[in-house]
Point group: C2
Chain length 212, copies 2
DNA sequence: CATTTATTGGCACCATCTGCCAACAAGCGC
DNA sequence: GCGCTTGTTGGCAGATGGTGCCAATAAATG
């Protein structure tokens, strides 16, 4: 009776592992994004995505509550990686210096194709309302993670006004930098454009501090 | 042949004026928001909104491309008012000082019911994904307007990085302040809660500058 | 009143997404 | 292997979101 796990003999088929599920979602996500980029979101039906990913339409809708949320797994992967870097941000370093050190592994963690796909999505969000909405909501999640890191660093409560404001401001900076890189990489991603993201962030951060 | 207007004798029924159309949209908007607040967005059908507003479902869908965009007229009214205040921001004043002077008329321009409705929408956006998306897109429009004001003040191009970053940061501050006021006014709006918005903004702006 | 143009409402239609259920897959003890 | 239990899948029906098309009507002009 001490261990909760022993109380359940666990009969029957076990549920699929969470990672398994995530990988499945990610796989579908890649197919969906390719279709979105090729023919637009509106012109891509759920049936089409399901077929491309090799699942029935029904299970597709089980994996994704809305069509637009197909972009989520791909984007979250990046956002999570970035949040990880953020989390290791040592107290004594400026953010930009920390990024200079820790940014490259972030890029190596993903395949070039995935990075390309993510940037394609970011570009798509400028014309596709539905995607824009999904994108913005994801950025809010990132802002939240950023808020927690900042709160811990400053020794303040997560909901302190300074923490929230600074998280929002930095998040905005990151958004702009990302947007710039995405448009710059419109035709073909080179290692330089990606490394440029860091410096883009640096420039933007400077622009922020100059406003007093 | 010199005047374009004289070339067209204009026969047949004239198109409804733009303001007329806006007023119609605003009217429907009010009905929709009430329903949204009462029973949630998902539980409110387009048919229901149309019926409440006294138009056919078909024309309802003509006025609003998506269900969620029903909140737009009500929100834009506020955003536009705010942008107007921003536009009159004299070069020599700090933003917060300008707001202290010009903020009250903004509140008087709308009925208490509309203000209440707007705040209700802002609160709703925390739980209703669809509304959140619409809300965020509207905020982007506001950020854009802010960017133009800032660009003019600073004598810089609209797409200069400093301008964009500062607009984004200030927009984020405004968002947080608005959120706080909306939750604070959860049960009943008093004049104080609304005037408090100004000071909320002031506090937030201070929090921003403290980040260096 | 006839003509012209704009808006409206009704209908058919496709796409999105959900509930329900039968089929099947994957573990367990025997 | 066979049952038993549980989780996932796919198919089908159905509600809702949203669009195109067309007839009816409204508002102007002469």
């Amino acid at each position: 009776m001490t261990d909760v796990a022993t109380e359940k003999p666990r009969r029957g088929r076990p549920p699929v592992s969470d990672e398994q599920r995530q990988r499945q979602r990610l796989d579908i996500s890649r197919h969906a994004v390719r279709l979105f980029a090729d023919q637009g979101v509106a012109a891509t039906s759920g049936e089409q995505i399901a077929q491309a990913a090799g699942v029935s339409e029904r299970t597709f809708w089980r994996y994704f509550p809305h069509k637009e949320s197909c972009v989520e797994p791909l984007l979250t992967k990046m956002v999570d990686a970035f949040c990880g870097v953020l989390h290791d941000w040592p107290r004594e370093l400026e953010l930009i210096d920390h990024l200079r050190e820790a940014y490259s592994p972030l890029l190596d963690a993903a395949t070039d194709e995935d990075i390309e796909a993510v940037l394609a999505v970011v570009r798509l969000t400028h014309g596709e309302r539905a995607l824009r909405a999904a994108y913005l909501m994801l950025r809010e999640r990132a802002e939240n993670a950023l808020g927690e890191v900042l709160a811990e660093r400053a020794g303040l409560a997560r909901d302190a006004i300074e923490v929230r404001v600074q998280a929002a401001a930095m998040s905005a900076v990151l958004k702009i930098a990302t947007d710039d890189v995405a448009t710059a990489a419109a035709d073909g991603v080179t290692r330089e454009t990606l490394e440029g993201h860091r410096e883009q962030i640096a420039t933007a951060l400077r622009g922020l501090s100059r406003m007093l």
